[in-house]
Symmetry: C2
Subunit: 337 residues, 2 copies
DNA sequence: GTGAAAGCGCTAACAC
DNA sequence: GTGTTAGCGCTTTCAC
């Protein structure tokens, strides 16, 4: 491992100057900077991140805490965050809290607090007040993605508005018996997301002069299989069958499409289906949906954090804008017969 | 931030003893250890990982390099690796090489070599000899998952054997016109995986006295949509239609099932379908498949690495066993009519 | 703009 | 089994 002093010697300057030249920040004459960079390149010098961190207090590393990794939303957010971090010279340390409470405590105690990260992004994770307080006490910026954390800046789409938009699409097509597949109570890893989407749905109905009927609501678990089951319940009944289904996620919506097919129905002729997400499979299934852009959410989270770590160095554009969403009409929605 | 000397003072011992007691390794009298642990707990002391790393040369962190994150295989391997690392007090730093070659070089130059990780796991990534050499020069253990890297220990299922097993299942049911959907040339992020699976398929056929026919092979891109397209080509023909399809991945196999349905065929009555993976959606679609266990592969990779980092501390059980796989018969395969 | 030197907070020899 | 002490390799005041 070649160290900073070798570079200094070769460049004919002091180690302090090497440090300044390479970190780019301070005032170094262009000539010196070139010399130093040449020397560093020649020797294949790379800073020791530990030494650098110990001396400066900066880790150039941010922690990302997720409840799952193998779901489209989470891995997409992580991907967006990772890319943006990389471009800014930061590493991403991943904490997957799939396990139970003990694992979670352990992550907090032994990892996050170990001075390993400069900041943390919590994805769809409701941190306790204590956890938030400890992070703040350490001066670590924190941002949430996918649900509000009390007292913490969080990036989410407006679930009520999104659900309303989806429902209104169906209403505009002429549907009036619109069912909704939402979350079940067990599904509470996140923040009232199912509830908010249901509220938006009911809001849109009410505004259109339609009374939301409890029998048109089915809970499910946000999986394709769950959506399939729920849709069969909805579409199998003899009376009052819905002409359209609004599922709270694309995976459930795809389950609905498959359920309809298995019942011999044709989508969208016999039933329209719309979801939320714009999941990678949505296009294949011709699913109309409200797109959210998780990669963009990951990027935005990083930008906020970097801005807090280096005030004024990043353009604040969009730091306080709500996350965008967008209706995408494909072939799973149409006018009722 | 409370430091080690405060703990030392409170416990009435030296900092060296605190370090020893807390790291567990060295010989410390039980009584002292208890005192130290109490003091540390009382003060809420957590080691500064940077200081510890700088002094010891250990990072307690391993780098995981993936080409994608939002695919079932990769996120599952990462999940398995993460869990095992966490249990052993290690962090996982993720490098997602989704971007192009420049990004990749940057990861190598500025991140992996920065002394940030003790070892690296490369998932389905063919490292160049130069990359491998540099890692070795730094003394960083490296293990691959999902494909052979020259001169590096790699964990994979035996793709030839897996494909053979799948094909033999179909043969045993009485099929003889068995099509195969494999990878297209563009799909080379990995190591001849499509080729090996095709070899296994052809081997099984040949062994059963059947000549592999080129017209029963269709390339695709390992996605559901790709499998769907390929299956339509296979099943739409007027003559010589296959009675069974062996797809090189579950996602493609699911595409086959959907294609068959859209053509008015019933699976498995009109066509049998088998995949490889045991993807999370396989059960929902009743897909017969050869399961591989990516989480287990991630765990195994970590165990090998930890064993190299701390020789003799881990049981070597299974370090050199090939990765397991297993035929899972569901409802997508049956005897031909 | 550049250099000298004092740490950053721990670990690991080495001595006892 | 425990204490003393010399670094680990940088960054950052503080001078100049």
């Amino acid at each position: 491992m070649v160290g900073i002093d070798e570079v200094a010697r070769l460049a004919g300057v002091s180690t302090a100057t090497v440090s300044r030249a390479l970190s780019g920040s301070a005032h170094v004459s262009p000539a010196t900077r070139v010399k130093v960079e040449a020397a560093a390149g020649e020797l294949g010098y790379v800073v020791s991140s530990t030494a650098s961190s110990l001396a400066s207090g900066r880790m150039k590393n941010i922690g990302v805490v997720v409840p799952f990794l193998n779901r489209w939303f989470f891995s997409s957010v992580v991907e967006g965050a990772q890319q943006t971090l990389l471009r800014n010279g930061y590493d991403l340390t991943l904490y997957n809290l799939t396990g139970g409470g003990e694992e979670r405590r352990s992550v907090f105690e032994h990892f996050l607090l170990r001075q390993r990260v400069d900041a943390v992004i919590a994805i769809s994770l409701e941190l306790t007040e204590d956890e938030v307080a400890r992070l703040h006490a350490l001066g670590k910026p924190l941002v949430g993605v996918g649900g509000p954390i009390p007292g913490v800046r969080t990036l989410t789409i407006d679930d009520v508005a999104v659900a309303r938009l989806a429902t209104e699409h169906l209403l505009a097509l002429g549907h009036s018996r619109i069912a909704h597949i939402g979350g079940n109570k067990a599904f509470d890893l996140d923040f009232h997301l199912p509830t908010n989407r249901r509220i938006g749905y009911e809001y849109a109905l009410t505004e259109a002069g339609i009374d939301p009927s409890p029998e048109l609501f089915q809970p499910a678990d946000f999986t394709m299989a769950g959506g399939y089951q729920a849709a069969k319940q909805l579409l199998g009944r003899a009376h009052n069958r819905p002409t359209a289904i609004f599922a709270a996620s694309d995976e459930m919506a795809i389950g609905c499409i498959l359920a309809a097919r298995d019942l011999g129905m044709v989508v969208p002729r016999d039933v329209s289906v719309i979801g939320i997400d714009d999941h990678e499979l949505a296009e294949f299934f011709g699913l109309s949906t409200i797109a959210q852009f998780p990669k963009g959410q990951g990027e935005a989270a990083v930008e906020i954090l970097l801005d807090q770590l280096h005030p004024g160095q990043h353009d604040q554009a969009g730091l306080n804008t709500p996350m965008p969403f967008e209706l995408i009409v494909r072939s799973s929605t149409a006018r009722p017969q």
